[in-house]
Symmetry: C2
Subunit: 598 residues, 2 copies
């Protein structure tokens, strides 16, 4: 099916919006009236621009407050409509959206509404235009899709059909099953949007918080299935009003939008990209740094051993059990200080995973960085993190370690260490995109978003993971766009004895993040501990949490560049990330920073 | 009455919060538990710090989920409480806030709630602590203030009273009159917060959107009157959870907070700062610029005459009817490019206005900038704009024009020009503060906030004005903190013939902002015009709006630095600012900028 996007979903001038929609691969656009009014291009020029870009103009929108009016007002509305139909002729658009009236003058009279819509459709037909009538969720008298359809049916005009909008239908809790009772050829248009499940005024919700399908809480795919069963064959079109998208660059937003639609199309059986192959573990995490010494010192104190070195590049492999960290001091990577730049994901099918990512519009990275390097499959995440699909030790698949030369045997002491999770700070405008990317491209499952109080603003965190917890990534975002690159990333290392690990780290000279004594007094009030247990945590700066399944103990190294390490011990199936302790941890990190700066 | 503020209302570390509260003149604080947990200071050190800063600790908060529990859980809650009472002893705090339970284990049993609260109060009394029990608006079984009071009354323990919170009471639409039935000595604490009137989940509303009294839509003063009539004599304390304040510096937020309380105290008769003396007109607007030529060229083309020059500084006075513009090229003012830096407000009582501003914590500026200058009363607005209280031509009061030397007679042609309004871009974190400042300090009336779609994000605009429209200031804010200084300021000049004014400006070589032809096609669809009228607007780039009272025609110059001029003609009592045309105007300004930059 053809795909389309409303210009109101993207930021910038009309020209910028059209260009972004075309580059992301959409087939058409809905043109929002205000975008046309504000454009210096004439309707004919807009038509030509769309043709050049390979875009059809699928909808002109919206007309408002037309039906069920006193005759004199309806005459004025028809006069306005005639102007707009003439404009659409110049534009080459053949379908117009008419929203159900919110006018205080509108009468609660379905027969009058049908009669006037039929007259409007007659005028439209004279101009070669079709009218798609849609129920706004906050329409004055007509606010449900089935009511709008009844009026359209009784108007019974060939140039009049209905427009369905997933937001207006699902936000009211209407049952979308009844859509199947509408003849497909009378569904003139389908607009899709998702939204987070918020209890708020529906108009504000609609105007500010819509998001692309798969980014919110609605069952948009279920609705689309009903529409397809009804026989609809028009475009799938995204109409999303969102305050964040308004501030974002149109290009990336359009890509995010089309990835959402592709995922939706796959879900309902309209598209078949290569099947997902969810990762089964973290092969490695790669840090880039202008100076390997500080990071190496932390890794050494944590008990990691430098086991190998890249044959062609200044990249060291540090290892501790199954936890592997690459430290890269290559010249191209040194600009932004120490940061987490790449993640190796164990993949059951590296090539398939990369093909799926490519089909879902992820930028594919070169398979070979230098002659002689192993051929590795890699793509870029929305935040720029490089994701390598790895087959560690699974010959005959290429092994990323083939590029490395051993310099020391892997250590055997220290217990079964592995990467528990990674935390990646997301660009402010791409938080929802990141969650959708990790779900649709990688096959990870997003958890609920959590707000965490930082001393200088609320942070938002959302984990994506495999069901078995083998891969866990926490996506975080700051309170405002200014903070994009300021926030820390971190690498959490799982051990089966966090007390021993913390003690050894400290004895090796590594400073652990100091946690205030007041925190431990509060722990004593909240939980009962074995003799001496709390004193040990207090001594080492170990934080404690408990959920219905088990316990979580964790502590933190200091920060190098943007990166710090966490030592964690999960017991009894604890599922979280210690979010309850995050305010104390963040305040402690601010205090260290202020102390270091002061 | 004493004033207090909850540490959760301010950003930063506990030390930063306490310092800000003290500097703003608060008498005490509520200490939010998480602020204490995250602080490296011991309770004894916090107590000493507060004493040094002249702050009492009026409340420790909150305890949660204590009452109406199964006995075993209540025993655990009592154990937690004992720890907290001991902590309060170290802290020197004698009142603790207990919120009504939200626990799924809480029973719907008022008798049990009263019995357990009484036992809790007994334990508290042993530690010299009083328990203030408050109904959360989303409490599981107890969610209204009168219900909480019934439980407290039936518990009947001297160490148990109630805490009233204006948000929890007014957000539920409870009638606050019943507060007068509570004996004043049983109201242990009063927390004040306002909030915008939003239809949304009350918990989210409370946690993210509270604001200081006078910044939202609640009748907080009315509630306080009831509490005073009940006999309450404790502190007036602000408890505000707000996502913007979380990101703002604690110092200015604390000042904003106390100004809010001072205004509230004045409203209910607890404080008597000098009475407001609302301005009666705009005496002048002052532009500072590194180069007078571009601004002077615009003013000249608009028909302004340079009539006078400051005796001691490089400041020119330009005049057109009653519209006066100062152009300042003084060295100290040239850093930020051309901007609107000061406004002269005609004041019936300049000295009184300045004393009121000072009493409401506005920074007072030196009355005399240089020896020999006239003594002028001036204060700084939250955005840094200097506000002069003027008595133009009202001897024997000092006249700001005394510092100027005439260089040309004022022109007599061109009709009755005056400043219609000013638009001032506000720092992102201070939008609500700015509206409150202009209301409380200057006596202007805030209008509703309006969201305006800019191609790159929603702008918010809120006008403050005198009832007769003699002074109108539009406060605007961008979509995100990054945009603080990027947005334009403007000066709107009222004329009685905008067509003639625009034509003359263009003939004098001044380029008017080009408005797209599509806009005029739409006007033709929306309104009927006299023959040739629309063609004139189209030719000149004049925008058109109409409200229930009259019509508004307006056009724009190009932008110099951050400043542009608007020519406006109001007819028939039109009250707005042409907000319906703002998206088209903003898009046109972006297009000009892109063209100039490209």
């Amino acid at each position: 099916m053809r795909t389309s996007i409303a210009t109101v979903s993207l930021s910038g001038s009309l020209t910028e919006k059209l260009t972004a929609a075309s580059r992301a691969g959409f087939d058409g656009v809905e043109i929002f009236e205000n975008d046309l009014l504000a454009s210096p291009l004439t309707p004919e020029e807009i038509r030509a621009r769309c043709a050049d870009l390979g875009l059809s103009i699928d909808l002109y929108q919206p007309m408002r407050d037309i039906e069920a009016l006193p005759e004199e007002e309806f005459a004025r509305a028809l006069r306005r409509a005639r102007h707009k139909f003439e404009l659409m002729g110049r534009l080459g658009a053949d379908t117009v959206l008419v929203c159900s009236s919110v006018s205080p003058h509108a009468l609660d009279d379905d027969a009058l509404a049908a009669e006037q819509l039929s007259r409007l459709a007659g005028l439209a037909e004279d101009h070669g235009v079709r009218v798609a009538y849609e129920a706004l969720a906050w329409g004055r008298h007509i606010s449900t899709y089935d009511h709008a359809w009844q009026v359209v049916r009784s108007a019974d005009h060939p140039a009049l059909g209905t427009c369905l909008d997933s937001f207006h239908i699902l936000s009211r809790g209407s049952d979308p099953k009844g859509i199947e009772d509408i003849p497909g050829e009378k569904i003139f248009f389908l607009q899709l949007a998702d939204a987070p499940l918020l209890a708020m005024d529906v108009l504000q919700w609609s105007r500010h918080y819509r998001c692309f399908p798969g980014q919110g809480g609605f069952d948009v795919a279920g609705l689309v299935r009903h529409v397809l069963r009804a026989g609809y064959r028009g475009p799938l079109s995204l109409e999303v009003f969102n305050d964040v998208f308004r501030q974002s660059e149109a290009g990336p937003t359009a890509v995010d939008a089309r990835r959402s639609l592709l995922t939706l199309q796959e879900t309902v059986g309209l598209a078949a990209p290569p099947a997902p192959a969810p990762p089964t573990g973290i092969a490695f995490a790669e840090l880039v740094t202008p100076d390997a010494a500080p990071v190496s010192a932390v890794l050494g104190a944590l008990g990691f051993t430098r086991t190998a070195r890249h044959r062609g590049k200044p990249v060291d492999l540090w290892q501790h059990g199954e936890a592997r960290v690459l430290v890269n001091t290559g010249p191209a990577e040194r600009r932004d200080g120490t940061r987490l730049a790449a993640v190796g994901l164990e993949s059951p099918d590296p090539a398939g995973a990369a093909r799926r990512a490519e089909a879902l519009l992820a930028p594919v990275l070169p398979r070979r960085r230098a002659p002689g390097d192993a051929e590795l499959e890699a793509v870029a995440a929305p935040d720029g993190t490089e994701l390598f699909f790895c087959a560690t030790g699974r010959s005959p698949l290429p092994d990323w370690r083939a590029d490395f030369e051993d310099v020391a045997p892997a250590p055997h002491d220290g217990g079964p260490w592995r990467v528990d999770h990674l935390s990646l700070a997301q660009p402010w405008h791409q938080f929802d995109e990141a969650a959708l990317f990790h779900r649709s491209v990688l096959g990870l499952r997003p958890q609920e978003s959590v707000d965490v109080a930082d001393p200088y603003g609320l942070l938002r965190s959302r984990a994506v993971s495999t069901d078995d917890g083998a891969v866990r990534i926490a996506l975080t975002v700051g309170p405002a766009p200014t903070d994009d690159t300021a926030h820390a990333q971190h690498l959490a290392l799982a051990t089966d004895d966090v007390v021993a690990a913390a003690r050894r780290y400290r004895e090796a000279g590594g400073p652990l993040l100091p946690i205030p004594a007041n925190y431990y007094d509060d722990l004593a009030a909240r939980f009962e501990f074995a003799d001496g247990e709390l004193e040990t945590y207090r001594e080492l700066g170990i934080l404690y949490d408990r959920d219905a399944h088990g316990t979580f103990r964790h502590c933190y190294t200091h920060t190098v560049g943007r990166v710090f390490f966490e030592l964690v011990q999960r017991d009894g199936g604890y599922r979280g990330y210690g979010a309850a302790n995050a305010p104390v941890r963040l305040a402690a990190q601010h205090a260290v920073r202020a102390f270091t700066a002061g």
